[in-house]
């Protein structure tokens, strides 16, 4: 249970960075940390004690493999999620670079023309 709790502390740190910081690149870093924490949480859910990777080697018995292997489904889903996190990060960086070109600053509180 403690390892889940540490993992949620990591998530909360990313969320804090996303909400409280003003610099656009810091917000992106906070989002990346949240992404890491969620991926790690899903992998942790599938871990088996003293587990082996889910790769069937030729000299391995299928029954011992079934008993020892870790859960492969979270790994398959997280593999997708990591790459999607990368592409959303590229989009965020592109938009923040465009904002820098227009307003000459990364500071969110200085970008005042967006206020209603």
């Amino acid at each position: 249970m403690l390892i889940y709790f540490l993992n949620s502390i990591l998530f909360v740190l990313g969320l804090y960075c996303l909400i409280a910081k003003k610099h656009l690149v810091k917000k992106i870093i906070g989002m990346t940390i949240m992404d890491y924490a969620i991926n790690l949480f899903i992998i942790l859910l599938g871990y088996k004690k003293d587990g082996i990777p889910p790769i069937l080697l030729p000299d391995m018995d299928i029954n011992t493999f079934l008993q020892q292997s870790v859960d492969p489904i979270p790994q398959a889903l997280v593999l997708t999620s990591i790459v999607i996190g990368l592409s959303t990060l590229a989009l965020m960086v592109a938009i923040s670079l465009r904002l820098y070109e227009k307003y000459k600053t990364f500071d969110m509180s200085e970008i005042r023309r967006l206020h209603g």
Partner: protein, 199 residues
């Protein structure tokens, strides 16, 4: 083994605190990169070598993209007019979040004892049904191949979006500059042959 997990996770937490609180943005980006690398080692020990390889590659690309966005630009975070209300309310909210998360974790299966109801079928039949001895690859590219198709669509859309946003010169600016010159042109703008004909 469990001590190793705790050590790496605490390293991640310390690294992300440094990444959040340091003033220099370049140092912050590098600290975030260190967190990602530690996470990849943690994946390796958790029995997920595929995830570890992908995490290393993605981490390096993230570092390159973020350094590109920070280097030679505005390099220090703003210090004046901190929003104390936002910080205080977010801290209260995070305390509540941690309490409720701790209560919710009691309902999960214990760490080290996953459920594996569907997964045992995949593990047993993967070699005979798909021919893949790496079960993760069998799931990604065979059992759930439509997920991978959707992932490719998302990546394509994101790259297209960032390409459109970052395009240096838009089409519209050219059209507008044409529209300004509508009307009777000056003599200097006309080609020389036309002027000679008029004279």
């Amino acid at each position: 083994m469990l001590i190793l997990f705790y050590a790496l996770l605490i390293f991640c937490i310390v690294g992300s605190i440094i990444a959040i609180e340091i003033r220099n943005i370049l140092a912050s980006v590098i600290a975030a990169g260190a967190v990602g690398m530690a996470l990849s080692i943690l994946f390796l020990f958790l029995g997920a070598p595929d995830i570890a390889i992908t995490q290393v590659v993605v981490e390096i690309i993230v570092l390159i993209v973020l350094i590109r966005s920070t280097v030679s630009l505005d390099n220090t975070s703003p210090t004046k007019h901190r929003d104390t209300f936002a910080i205080l309310s977010s801290l209260i909210f995070f305390g509540l979040f941690l309490v409720f998360a701790f209560m919710a974790f009691q309902g999960l299966p214990k760490f080290g004892e996953p459920l594996m109801k569907v997964a045992s079928n995949y593990l047993r039949d993967s070699v005979t049904q798909t021919g893949a001895s790496n079960v993760v690859m069998g799931i990604i590219l065979d059992y759930r191949a439509y997920d991978t198709l959707g992932e490719a669509t998302v990546i394509f859309t994101a790259i297209l979006g960032s390409f459109v946003v970052l395009r240096a010169k838009g089409k519209k600016r050219k059209e507008e500059s044409d529209r300004v010159k509508v009307g009777i042109p000056d003599k200097e703008d006309l080609p020389k042959t036309l002027i000679e004909v008029e004279e």
